[in-house]
Each structure stands twice: as C-alpha cells, then as structure tokens.
C-alpha cells in the first residue's frame, strides 16, 4: 500500500473532504431522498450509502465501512418477521435515528460557531508592540497553604499505601491499553512507561499495557527504546512517513 497518493488516488482525497464523516454522508442522502428521518427506508438508504462510498473511493476509510456494516445489520434486522402484538419490539433504527439527530444538532451549533468565528476573523487586534524600557519588578508570587495542601493530596492519591493493595484476578484488557497508549501518543511524541500505566496500576493492567506496547510496536505505530538495562523505557510515536 502506498501512503503517498499516486495519481489515481488524488480524487479520493478531494471527494473525502466533502463529508466530515459517515453521519454527514448519511444525512446528505436522507436530504437528497427527502425521506423522514424517523422512518428511514433503510434498505434503499443502505444501498445508496454503499454505492456512494464505492464510487467515491470512501471504502478505504474505516469509519465509513463501519457505518456501512451497521446499515446492513439494521437492514437484516428489519427483515426479521415480527408480530403486530409484539409490544417489546424495538425499532432497529432507533439508535441510528438518535445519532443522526444528535449529529444534526451539533451541525446547528457549528453554523453558530462559524458565524462567530467569521465575525472575529474580520477584525484585527493590535500587532505592534515596541520593546519596553521600563524596569519592572518581578511579579509577586501567589502561594497559599491551601494550594500546597491540595497538591499534597494529589501526590498522595498517586502514592498509595501498598498495604491497601488487593490483587483481584482480572482478564487482560489489551484493547483498552492500546487506546490509552494511542491517546497519550496523540498528544505527545514521546512518552514513558509511567505515562501510559497509571501509578499503582494493578498487575493485569501492567500486563495489558506491556502486551499493548509490543503489539503497537509490531504494527509499527511506535518504537520502544531502553538506553540501558533497568533504565526508563521510552515510547516514541512513529510518524506515518517513517512507518511507510
């Protein structure tokens, strides 16, 4: 797989930019088809969704594929026979409708934000600040005992008494650990073991994180380094360019 778009892939990028996600594409289909959002003809919309992501090359984007799978699942559920007397029947589309409405509302907020941002963008603040000749005393320090004590509390929450520690056997959660590590590496290029495993982590959490690190290293998402035996392990994000 090439990461840098060769020529045939260029239109894909352009088309993808039209929609900010699968819900956006779905809403645009619902609008185009003029169907009721509370009573979506799911078979028709699912087929169109699939057709659109195929023609637009969106089938490379995992988020769109996930939505396609969801639509097909709902379509299948709608085909299951049901009795009119079945009060417990829950519309398989309910969750999708809820998400679409929520997404629509957020888009409404986006419109408002855009207006505000445009207003601010059209005014300039002062830019020129000549160097100052005035000798100013250093800023006074604001320090209260309350602040110090709450800092102490924060430290203590991390350094718990080992005697309070109960080991409960738990299954490993490698996926959870992978999510955590990815989260940390999104904000920082380099992290340490301590950044991805909370202080006082339980054994299963430590093992989960270790397995997650090895797995992510195998996938080329990060690099692990230990400069010397027993030294801190450094976790470094691999940029996509290097990974390719």
């Amino acid at each position: 797989m090439t990461l840098l778009g060769s020529e045939p892939e260029t239109p894909f990028v352009v088309e993808l930019g039209q929609f900010s996600g699968p819900l956006d594409l779905l809403l645009s289909l619902i609008r185009d088809e003029r169907v009721d959002i509370y009573d979506i003809p799911i078979a028709r919309i699912a087929d169109q969704f699939l057709a659109r992501i195929r023609t637009m090359g969106l089938d490379q984007a995992a988020d769109y594929l996930e939505m396609a799978a969801r639509l097909l699942r709902i379509k299948a559920q709608m085909l299951l026979p049901r009795h009119d007397t079945d009060d417990a029947w829950e519309d398989p589309r309910a969750e999708l409708v809820r998400r679409l409405l929520e997404y629509q509302q957020m888009r409404e907020v986006v419109d408002v934000l855009e207006r505000y941002a445009e207003d601010r963008r059209s005014r300039f603040a002062r830019q020129y600040f000549p160097p100052s000749n005035v000798e100013t005393p250093p800023a006074p320090l604001a320090l209260s005992l309350a602040e110090l004590l709450s800092a102490v509390d924060r430290v203590l929450r991390v350094v718990r008494d080992p005697a309070m520690h109960d080991v409960i056997p738990r299954a490993l959660d490698v996926d959870g650990a992978i999510a955590t590590i990815r989260g940390v590496l999104e904000l920082r290029e380099r992290a340490r073991w301590r950044d991805v495993v909370r202080q006082g982590a339980e054994r299963w959490e430590i093992l989960s994180s270790l397995l997650a690190l090895l797995e992510l290293a195998r996938r080329g998402e990060l690099k692990l380094a230990q400069p010397s035996p027993f030294a801190n392990v450094w976790i470094r994000r691999e940029s996509p360019g290097q990974a390719a």
């Binding site: 934000l113 941002a117 904000l187």
Partner: protein
C-alpha cells in the same frame, strides 16, 4: 476624554489579548469598577461618535480594541496583516461538541461524530483552543477535554453561555451526557 478613559485606551492598546475589567481597574487604585465601566463607555463612544477605524469590543472575558470589519479587505490586500485560516469542518464539529459537553473524553466525541478524532484533538490542542481538563475514572483513565479562554476569544464570545442553549436548538439533544 477623561484621564481614566485615556489611561484605559493606552492600556488596551498595549495588550494583544482582551483585558478583564479587574486588570483595568488595577491601573488606577482610586478608580472603582463602576468608574472603569463608565470610562470604557466613554472610550467606546469616542470611537463611535468621532468616526474611527477601530472600536471597543467585549469578548473573551475582557475588553479589546479591534479594527472595524469594513477595513479588513483593504488591509489584507496591502499585506499589512492577514486573517487567520478558517477552521476545518472537522475541527468545528469537534469544538462544538466539546463546548457543549465539556469535560468530555475522546470516545464520546467519536461516538457523536462517527469518525476518529485523534488528529483533530491534537491540532485543536496545539492551537490552544482546547485543553486537557482532567481524567475520567475507569479503565485507562481517559483524558477529558474542555475549551480554553482563547476559544472564547477566537469566536468573539464573552462566555460560553452566549452560545445557544441546547433547548434553543431546532433538534433536541439527549439531556445527559452518557457516563464515560
């Protein structure tokens, strides 16, 4: 203009960011907050009545002097200043969710937007529009995000309450954020 209005004008001129009223009041130990407010009104009026290219605006938890919008294009054409880039749709959507639901974790934002938001969060964080405001309880203790004062400033808002309330929007949203 009154001496206090002149002092406030000079102070607002020397700040790149909006200045809160308390900071303006600190300029003159004898001036009450009410006197500062009156002097700010005087300054606003001086700009409005005498016809100036700049105006006094209240935003981002303080006061700031900004140029009037009608001159923006000419200034940009003469290359004396440039407007900042517009935010992408992905950034705006993510900001909208964070503004309304803060503190909020990444998983919940992705739930609403239906896409991975890792890269967007990173760039909003780098731009100083959002910050990590805490960590959720529970597995992995996910980071929680909130908007910053700079967000208010760049959207010309005085405070978050200036955004339409959830029940004022055309489409109703579920009331309570889901437990993380």
């Amino acid at each position: 203009m009154s001496p206090l209005a002149k002092l406030l004008e000079a102070a607002l001129f020397s700040s790149a960011r909006p200045v809160p009223v308390e900071e303006l009041a600190a300029l003159d130990p004898e001036a009450s907050p009410a006197a500062v407010r009156a002097a700010l009104d005087e300054l606003r009026e001086a700009y409005d009545v005498n016809g100036h290219g700049i105006e006094l605006t209240e935003l981002g938890e303080g006061f700031q002097i900004l140029t009037r919008p009608e001159y923006t294009e000419a200034i940009e054409r003469a290359q004396l200043a440039v407007r900042p880039h517009r935010l992408s749709a992905a950034s705006l959507e993510t900001l909208a969710i964070i503004a309304y639901r803060q503190p909020i974790g990444r998983a919940e934002i992705e739930e609403i937007r239906g896409v991975n938001v890792g890269g967007v969060l990173k760039s909003l964080h780098e731009r100083g529009l959002i910050d990590v405001v805490g960590r959720a309880e529970g597995l992995g203790r996910p980071l929680l995000y909130g908007t910053t004062p700079l967000f208010l400033e760049q959207f010309a808002l005085r405070h978050l309450e200036e955004l339409p309330r959830a029940d004022e929007l055309a489409v109703a949203l579920r009331a309570e954020p889901r437990a993380v």
